[in-house]
Structure formats: structure tokens, C-alpha cells
């Protein structure tokens, strides 16, 4: 071992143990969050609240996976919703037509999503910026049109009706509302934890480097195309998970799940919560769903209210809520240390 290598080993060691510590901390936070969420039905019988959390799980998984592309890799996808729709439809169709146990359908749907997203991604990630956005949008609309026109298989504009069978497995009965609630929370927390691991891994830092300077990453010997494709497929898998939670919740799948507005909402959620923090999209999800629910209750013109709120974020804060809070705290801390 040369002196140089010895020195490097010394500096690397504390960093690595720090990373391990941080991983334990993330797992701990996830376990606490899961425990809190899972014990919620013990304290409240409110079905509306549990429904709200289930919807948050579906959209949260979707929005956070979009942030892997938008925030971490700098790939602004306008068509990420296609995988949300694909997950919901594949899962629903497999359960309806094949009648396999739920975990089998779950894994099969992930496999289908991986194949489809690898094919679409291989075409899309060659393109840059606005062109990437438009091709993903085009693929989204292509899938949406296919769902609409292939009515004999997908139910066309009526959606997948007749309910998705939810046979019990391993003592879990997803037809039971509380079971479904706990399962959704578990999927959300597991998904978030997995995405956090991806974001904090060396691969996650490679993605950040690609976002900041793809040419330099390429000079350093990184296969940019492959890294982008990998994260595109990974993000698609989590979006598909979100779609499956949604399909289980509404016991069906509708063409709106694959419509471009889902992608638009995903982008909007990310901007609302903030893209530079991992939990920003989750905060955005809760904000948007709360906003949607309360505003629609008070006025039929919810577009105006929603629009004004968006303008406040875009022109007033100029960043997402969690980003804003994080910067505000950082400024306060700096000011405190300066004194």
C-alpha cells in the first residue's frame, strides 16, 4: 500500500461509517413513520382520513419517483403518468383475467413495467430537455389512446369495471378497509425507503453529476445513457407501484390514470413541495390533495383558487414549500452562528 492509498483509506473510513449511520437513521425514521401511520386506525374510525392517506400513498409514490427523474437527474418527464396508468391497468387486468394471488400479480406488473419502460426509455433518454419532455408526453398519449381504442381488452373510456378481485393472502385481506390502509402505508414507506437508498447511493450521486454536467460525467467514464435509462426504469417501477395502490383503492382502473394530466399533477406536486429535498414531493402530495379536497367543497370554481395558489408559489416563493423552509432554516442557522 503506497502512502497515497493509505491516506485515502483513512479519509474514506469516516465518510463510509457516516453513510451507514445515516442509513440506520433513515430506516429508523421509516419504522417510526410506519408505526404511527399503522396505528392511526386504533385512534380514529374516520374512513375519510384513512382514504386520504391511501390516496396520499398512491400519489406520493408516483410523485417521489418523478422527483428521481426531475430533481436528481434533471430529466423533465411530461409522461411519467403513463407508468402510473400502466401499473393500474396491468395489475387490474392480471387480477381480473388470470385470478392469481395478489403478490404474483404485483411482481408480474412490476416485470411488465420494467420491460415497457426499458423500451420507451431507450428511445427517450437519447433526447435532451424539452425534446425529452415532448417524446415522453407523446408516449403517454400513445398509451392513453391505446387504452381508449382497445376497448375489448381495457374497457375503453369506461375503464376497467366490475371491480378487481382481492383474494386474501398470508392472512392479509385487502378487501378489508383497514388491511388495505396498512398495506398501502407499508408500500409507501418501503417505496420511499428504497428510493431514499437509491438517491443516497453512489449511483444517486452519479445522477446528480449527470444533472449538473453530463459532459463531464461522460469524460469521467460514466455511461450517461445507461445511467439515465436505469433511473428511468427504476422511477417507472415506483410509479407503477403507486398505480397499483390506486387500482386497489378504487377497485378498478380508468383512462384518466394514463392521461397526461396525471403527469402534469406530478410535476405540479414536485414544484409545490420542492425538488431539492427528498421529502418535498411527499409534502407536495399532501398539500395538493388537501387543497383539492377543501377547495372543491367550498366552491365550484376551484380552478381559480388553485391557480392563484400556484401563482403564489411560482411568483411569490419561487420554489417549493419544503425547499423554502429548508433555506429559511439554513439562513437562520447561519445568522445564529455569525452572531
Amino acid at each position: 500500500m503506497t502512502e497515497l492509498e493509505a491516506g485515502r483509506a483513512e479519509t474514506l473510513a469516516p465518510v463510509r461509517s457516516g453513510a451507514v449511520l445515516r442509513r440506520y437513521r433513515d430506516v429508523l425514521i421509516a419504522l417510526i413513520a410506519l408505526a404511527v401511520l399503522a396505528s392511526l386506525p386504533l385512534f380514529t374510525g374516520s374512513k375519510a382520513l384513512l382514504d386520504f392517506v391511501i390516496r396520499c400513498s398512491a400519489y406520493g409514490l408516483f410523485a417521489t419517483s418523478l422527483n428521481l427523474l426531475v430533481g436528481y437527474t434533471g430529466l423533465t418527464s411530461f409522461g411519467h403518468g403513463m407508468f402510473f396508468g400502466l401499473g393500474a391497468y396491468s395489475f387490474g387486468l392480471i387480477m381480473q383475467k388470470l385470478g392469481v394471488p395478489i403478490p404474483v400479480a404485483f411482481v408480474a406488473t412490476l416485470a411488465i413495467t420494467a420491460i415497457v419502460s426499458a423500451i420507451i426509455g431507450a428511445i427517450c433518454v437519447r433526447l435532451k430537455e424539452i425534446y425529452f419532455a415532448f417524446v415522453t408526453l407523446a408516449f403517454q398519449m400513445l398509451i392513453h389512446s391505446t387504452i381508449l381504442s382497445w376497448a375489448s381488452f381495457t374497457g375503453g373510456d369506461q375503464g376497467l369495471r366490475g371491480g378487481i378481485p382481492r383474494p386474501p393472502f398470508l392472512g392479509i385481506d385487502l378487501a378489508n378497509h383497514v388491511h388495505l390502509y396498512v398495506a398501502s402505508c407499508a408500500l409507501l414507506i418501503l417505496g420511499l425507503l428504497a428510493m431514499r437508498q437509491i438517491a443516497q447511493s453512489p449511483f444517486g450521486y452519479t445522477l446528480r453529476m449527470i444533472r449538473d454536467n453530463a459532459a463531464r460525467a461522460s469524460f469521467l467514464g460514466i455511461d450517461v445513457w445507461r445511467a439515465k435509462l436505469t433511473v428511468f426504469v427504476l422511477a417507472a417501477l415506483f410509479a407503477s407501484m403507486g398505480g397499483m395502490v390506486m387500482a386497489l383503492f378504487v377497485s378498478g382502473a380508468y383512462p384518466e390514470f394514463a392521461y397526461w394530466t396525471i403527469s402534469g399533477e406530478g410535476i405540479f406536486i414536485n414544484m409545490l413541495g420542492g425538488v431539492s429535498t427528498f421529502l418535498g414531493p411527499m409534502v407536495g402530495t399532501v398539500l395538493l390533495l388537501l387543497l383539492n379536497d377543501t377547495v372543491t367543497r367550498f366552491t365550484e370554481y376551484h380552478g381559480i383558487v388553485l391557480g392563484v395558489v400556484i401563482l403564489f408559489f411560482a411568483l411569490g416563493l419561487r420554489k417549493g414549500l419544503l425547499d423554502f423552509a429548508a433555506e429559511w432554516f439554513a439562513q437562520r442557522r447561519d445568522a445564529g452562528e455569525g452572531r
Binding site: 425534446y131 376551484h302 391557480g307 400556484i310 419561487r318
Partner: protein, 300 residues
């Protein structure tokens, strides 16, 4: 799929003429919207996501003016002028604040206005479908060309759109203002240093783009039904047009719009349920083979 119907139509001149004219008017309306979009993108480097709202307002302004005055010419004027003013205000008050910002921020501001404008229309004109009705001057016998039926209004519509294309093309390449606009698109800092008010240019281009979309809406008002949110499908289609034709290219917008119009009108015969899918498929093929669009230049 109904390929027999498509083949049958291609074999008969009457059907060919009818379908081609209907494709042309779809294409021409799309061109007017898309050329505004591409102009705004070319000069301001902003993707105006709220462009469909101008199309919608143009149609509603024209309908109201027509009901008040009974004059078709005034209705067209109201549609175009009203949206031009709206575009100028929108650009100066809101869009000019997010020029330096992230693309996502710009999209978000536009998205907010899509929501707001749709609700404003719902409040002023009501949520139900409206119809302006064909002006009496055009309620005459349709022309028969090679056995195909062509309403005279269609010819006016195609003529006006073609005129706009020619005026725009010549104006941008020959006139002084056109040269200034192209210079501002190329290097706004230098243009500003030469003593030209770039803010005014930006506002003017946005107003022009809004006006073209409003004109398209006004022209479409007699032949289509008016509803809040009518701008949206037009917006998505004109996006496809600009992407196929190449962002920032006027000729590209014209060719892309005509291609898309023809795909729509003939596709609805051969693939009645997959017409929309055909457009997206076409866009994917173009983008994959030539990412900058048919007439787009390589990004600098």
C-alpha cells in the same frame, strides 16, 4: 381498424376532396395556433402552455361581438384584437417575471392561468356548450368540386390562414420590425445595447402570438362548439405541430399543421378509434429520427 373505408375513400374523387378540405381546415386552424406558439418560443424561449386559452378567448370574444353587432367582420376583429390585448397584459404582468427562472416555473405560471382562464370563461359565459352559428353571408349553397362538397366558409378560412402565413413569413424576413424581432431572438442583450426596447419586442411578439390564436378561435367559432376548456385539445395538437415542424420555424409549423390535419381527417376513416394515437405515433417517429423536428435547426 377500417382499412376498406380508407381505401374506398382514396379511390373516389368526391370523398378525396371532402376529406382533404376537412383536413386542410383542421390544419389551417392548427397552424394559426401553432405559429403563435412557435414564434413565442423562438423569440422569448418560453413554451406558452396557456396558448390554448387565447384560442378559447378568441372564439368567445367573436361570439359575443357577433351577437351584439351582427357583423362577421367585427366578430373576427374582436377575437383578434381582444386576445392581442390580453396577450400583452399577460406577458408584461406575469410572464416577464419568470424569464430567467426554471422552465418548470414558467410552465407552472402558465398552468395556473389555464385553470384560471377556464373558470373565468365559465363564470362569464357559463359552463354549457355554446354555438355562434354560421353568419348569414355564408349560408349559401356549398360548392361542388369534383363531386366533393366544399362549404364556402371553408375557403374563406383557408384563405385567411394562408394570408396570415404569407404576411408573417414576409414580414419577419423583409421588414425592419421583423429583422429586429429575429435579432432579439438571436441575441437580446446586443439588441438591447443598441437602444431597442426588448421588453416592448417581447410584449409585442406575445401579443402577436395571442392574436393569431385568437383569430384561429374566432374563425373556428362558426364551425365548432364553444366550451370552457376547448383550448386544451388544440393546445396539445399545436404542440405536436411545433415539435414535428421544429420549434421556432414558421414553415415547419405550416407543414406540420397540414400533415397533422390530413392525418386526422384520413385517419378518422381508416382508424376511427386510433386517430389520436396516429398523431402521437407520427410525432414519436419524427422525434426519434430527427429530434429537432422536420425544419428545426440544431440547438445552439
Amino acid at each position: 381498424m377500417d382499412l376498406d373505408a380508407l381505401a374506398g375513400c382514396l379511390a373516389s374523387s368526391a370523398c378525396l376532396v371532402t376529406q382533404t378540405t376537412s383536413g386542410l381546415i383542421i390544419g389551417m386552424l392548427l397552424f394559426l395556433v401553432a405559429v403563435g406558439l412557435t414564434l413565442i418560443f423562438g423569440v422569448l424561449k418560453v413554451v406558452n402552455f396557456s396558448h390554448g386559452a387565447f384560442y378559447m378567448f378568441g372564439a368567445y370574444f367573436a361570439m359575443t361581438a357577433y351577437q351584439l353587432t351582427g357583423s362577421f367582420a367585427l366578430a373576427m376583429l374582436a377575437g383578434a384584437a381582444g386576445t392581442a390585448i390580453l396577450g400583452l397584459i399577460f406577458e408584461r404582468v406575469f410572464m416577464s417575471r419568470v424569464y430567467g427562472a426554471d422552465v418548470l416555473m414558467q410552465l407552472l405560471v402558465c398552468y395556473a392561468f389555464v385553470l384560471i382562464f377556464d373558470d373565468v370563461v365559465r363564470i362569464i359565459w357559463g359552463p354549457e356548450f355554446k354555438s355562434m352559428g354560421m353568419p348569414s353571408a355564408f349560408q349559401v349553397m356549398p360548392l361542388f368540386i369534383a363531386g366533393g362538397v366544399v362549404p364556402p366558409y371553408y375557403l374563406l378560412l383557408i384563405g385567411v390562414a394562408l394570408l396570415a402565413a404569407v404576411v408573417l413569413g414576409i414580414g419577419l424576413s423583409r421588414s425592419r420590425i421583423g429583422k429586429v424581432i429575429r435579432a432579439a431572438a438571436h441575441n437580446p442583450g446586443m439588441v438591447s445595447a443598441l437602444g431597442i426596447n426588448t421588453g416592448l419586442i417581447y410584449g409585442g411578439v406575445f401579443a402577436l402570438g395571442g392574436m393569431l390564436a385568437g383569430l384561429a378561435g374566432a374563425l373556428a367559432a362558426p364551425v365548432r362548439s364553444l366550451t370552457p376548456g376547448m383550448g386544451f385539445s388544440v393546445l396539445i395538437e399545436s404542440f405536436i405541430v411545433t415539435v414535428i415542424g421544429g420549434m421556432g420555424s414558421i414553415l415547419g409549423a405550416l407543414i406540420g399543421a397540414l400533415l397533422l390535419g390530413l392525418i386526422r381527417s384520413f385517419g378518422s376513416l381508416g382508424f376511427p378509434l386510433f386517430t389520436e394515437g396516429l398523431m402521437y405515433l407520427f410525432m414519436v417517429i419524427v422525434l426519434v429520427s430527427k429530434p429537432t423536428g422536420l425544419f428545426g435547426r440544431e440547438a445552439a
